[in-house]
Symmetry: C2
Subunit: 219 residues, 2 copies
């Protein structure tokens, strides 16, 4: 695999940054793709862009408009970000399917046979399309759609946030997290209070590693 | 199912018109979606539009730009339409995956649990994404991506063109074919010579039914 080309779905967040560091170790050539779907934390796209420019990594930003068709708190400013007993308001229906399909189409066009995504079943939180069974069924579907072979890699699937931080430490790239954005409120410094910030902080805390980004409050 | 809502992927061609006639018999409420992917036979979109206006059917046209990323004779005017020993030049990588995913996202947004597509394994001609195994794997994937139930119907999957024409006859809508476009060259009257025209004409011929569209040459 070391001589092959890969595409990383790169949101500009902590998980996809870890995936990018992982892919850069594993593959000869790595490109990144970021999706603008009018997410409230659109600032993550700027983070992704800055990182790729500073590190000379090929980066492609693609606009998707269909994800707002199904109401959710990430594309609709009128819906609050909150955890519920069932599906969180931040669940964007079919988001990962769209990301993976567009990334697959792009991968084939540049001759890459590998896709990397930072989805993770461990912090599943009701996001159906972060489960391993979804990724496996997507991989089967995309390989039935064409005779072009695509492998989907999910290096974080079974890690918790603490283990993800430790994986990044083992890759010696903790400092790259300074570029990442996680806060769902789109705040920078991060709010430290939304579900995404809380999950991130817990991971660093458990790994006993300092998060290099700034927070509004002293967490 | 009779009380439910459905979305038909409606290209404006003969097969999807047959599917639409089929769906209108089966479901209480039917909407249509047509994709503009800069296909050389773009005239089919106008055919679809005209039919839906004349027959008071809800119709949505969606533009896709990613299908041109992988070179093919339908989105690239410099590549000739021709049959080959392997994959035809008219194969558009991942086309049905994109159509089905966008249609699924739309279906959920309007509360429809049924999608209808005119893909057909019988005249497979090297189009991987027309095979039943692809449709089944897409259906599994989309149902793993969300807890929203979607059923994909392929009423033409095992029919040849002659049987499709006969199905339309049994639905008493042969006259609707006058609105349809098939010719890959985008000609109207149709060229009668491209692979798509030839397949269409053969079907009518075998069914002993007159094709209501006009052809350039007397076929």
């Amino acid at each position: 695999m070391e001589n092959e080309k890969a595409v990383v779905i790169f949101s500009g967040g902590q998980d996809s940054m870890t995936c990018l560091a992982w892919a850069l170790k594993k593959f000869k050539e790595v490109e990144t793709i970021t999706f603008n779907y009018n997410q409230r934390h659109k600032i993550e796209i700027q983070c992704a862009k800055k990182f790729c420019i500073d590190n000379n990594i090929k980066h492609f930003v693609y606009d998707i408009d269909v994800l707002k068709w199904n109401k959710n708190a990430l594309t609709d400013g009128d819906i609050d970000v909150k955890e519920t007993d069932t599906v969180p308001t931040t669940f964007v229906p079919y988001r990962n399917a769209h990301f993976l399909l567009i990334a697959s189409t792009y991968a084939k066009s540049i001759g890459a046979n590998h896709l990397i995504t930072g989805v993770c079943q461990t912090d599943f939180s009701g996001y159906f399309d972060c489960r391993n069974v979804f990724i496996k069924s997507f991989e089967k579907m995309i390989n039935e759609a064409d005779d072009y072979k695509l492998k989907i890699h999910t290096p974080l699937m079974w890690l918790n946030k603490c283990e993800t931080v430790k994986l990044m430490q083992s890759l010696k790239k903790i400092e790259w997290y300074a570029y990442t954005h996680t806060c769902y409120e789109g705040n920078r410094p991060a709010c430290g209070k939304c579900p995404a910030c809380k999950l991130r902080l817990k991971g660093f805390d458990e790994a006993k590693i300092k998060d290099p980004i700034e927070y509004e409050h002293n967490n």
